[in-house]
Symmetry: C2
Subunit: 236 residues, 2 copies
DNA sequence: ATGTCTTTGTGAACGCGTGCACAAAGATGG
DNA sequence: CCATCTTTGTGCACGCGTTCACAAAGACAT
């Protein structure tokens, strides 16, 4: 069983650090807002504040892309928008399929952030035949049987999984088999994928549990946790 | 002299590394599955495979919680479930409010992973008066005007924001003002919060853009990117 | 009891990411 | 043209997280 390795062994010499890649969309969003207000240039300090990061970090991030700023002035907003878009691959069209059109799938289909960034929803798929043909976000839901044909015909390389946990692995296998090489997984499952396929997961439950941990710590700030508190269950 | 003084090992004290905290829910999920299959014990190797991580990492993670394993045997599943649950604060009840009952908010309200982990949806809130009273996931949607009263009455400390971007900051301010100290933000905005308030954000668009970056790299593996490709827009 | 075998727990090394602090670059004004 | 001022780009050091590799611990058989 090939466990899905989401991280490459080592960054190439020409590679942009993963942490930087993860922040580029953040910068892009802030820059887009500036662009809409017709702001011509922005300093690293201002942009960093808008994106919620440290200015030194932002400058270092940009330094991986090249020297796009002007000392004493700042960065040209339009130019930077283009450079980051190009680096992220957003200047091209990315057809996407969404599998599992429940509440979450419908929310994703309706999400405006997709189309505005070069992502085009090629199809909505669901296993429930009763849903077939119903319009969601202006698109007809199609039956999961059509998955392979749709992926091939539209050259879909990105799949979004919004199915129940039990169906996620099978859907993944079918997507990968049909040619999908990037998967965004909303199902609470660890997916196995062959090498060369990227998986990112978004897990609502995990995020909440992390918040709960910090919340608990905040609540128990002063008092000491009774460490000897052991449950009835003991190791055999 | 590169090697400085070892100020504090930071091991035995109360500090669990953030990276470890983020993985505990993952382990917990795998352990729960084992528990339901009545598996009594599990080795670090097996559990790591189920959680999709390295076994050495898992053992080190557990070492921050204490020595809960038995050498030569592995970990007692039930005992470990309890210890992780306690560490994450899941043995207590966490009332949660969800603000913004669109498709996404409805999806969150219906998500089973909430209730099963000690999270209880105290209320669903929306600014649209037309939604008020409608049942979503068995709960009536209530108007945003009731936010403060609901937070106070139910001692809500965790808020989930599923509103449009434009409303997110205002909702955040009101939540924080009413006593919420942890926020899970699904709106594509950088939130400003006072010290002591934790914010975690989940951003669909950003995840997709990161995938697009890697996808683009995969597509252009062999050929060289024309680096001199510059748009018409140039810095002033 | 003793030896063997399995698996944990962890010391140590390494690599990545972050932030400081400053020199270099360029704008701007006299 | 020169001085000054602003802001970038980056060398460097530090700390966190990951991984390796192995000694210690215990189970189990004889």
């Amino acid at each position: 069983m090939a466990t899905g390795r989401s991280h490459r062994p080592a960054t190439r010499s020409r590679g942009i650090p993963e942490a930087t890649v993860a922040r580029l969309p953040l910068y892009l969003r802030a820059l887009t807002a500036l662009s809409e207000r017709s702001v011509p240039t922005v300093s690293s300090e201002e942009l960093a504040a808008a994106a919620g990061v440290n200015s030194a970090k932002l400058r270092k991030d940009f330094s991986y892309l090249g020297s796009y700023g002007t000392r004493g002035v700042g960065y040209d907003v339009e130019y930077l928008v283009y450079q980051i878009s190009r680096e992220l691959g957003l200047t091209q069209d990315w057809p996407v399929v969404i599998v599992g059109i429940g509440n979450l799938g419908a929310a994703l289909a309706n999400y405006g952030g997709f189309a505005s960034r070069g992502f085009r929803v090629a199809a909505l798929l669901d296993a429930d035949a009763a849903l077939a043909g119903r319009l969601v976000a202006g698109l007809p839901v199609r039956h999961i049987d059509e998955l392979e044909a749709i992926v091939v015909d539209n050259q879909v390389s990105i799949g979004v999984i919004a199915t129940p946990a039990g169906a996620a692995q099978e859907v993944t296998d079918r997507l990968v088999n049909a040619g999908v090489t990037s998967i965004l997984n909303f199902a609470p499952t660890v997916l196995s994928v062959p090498d060369g396929v990227d998986v990112r997961k978004v897990d609502l439950s995990i995020e909440l549990q992390i918040l709960a941990f910090h919340e608990q710590r905040k609540a128990g700030e002063g008092r000491q946790e009774p460490d000897g508190d052991v449950p009835a269950v003991m190791p055999a």
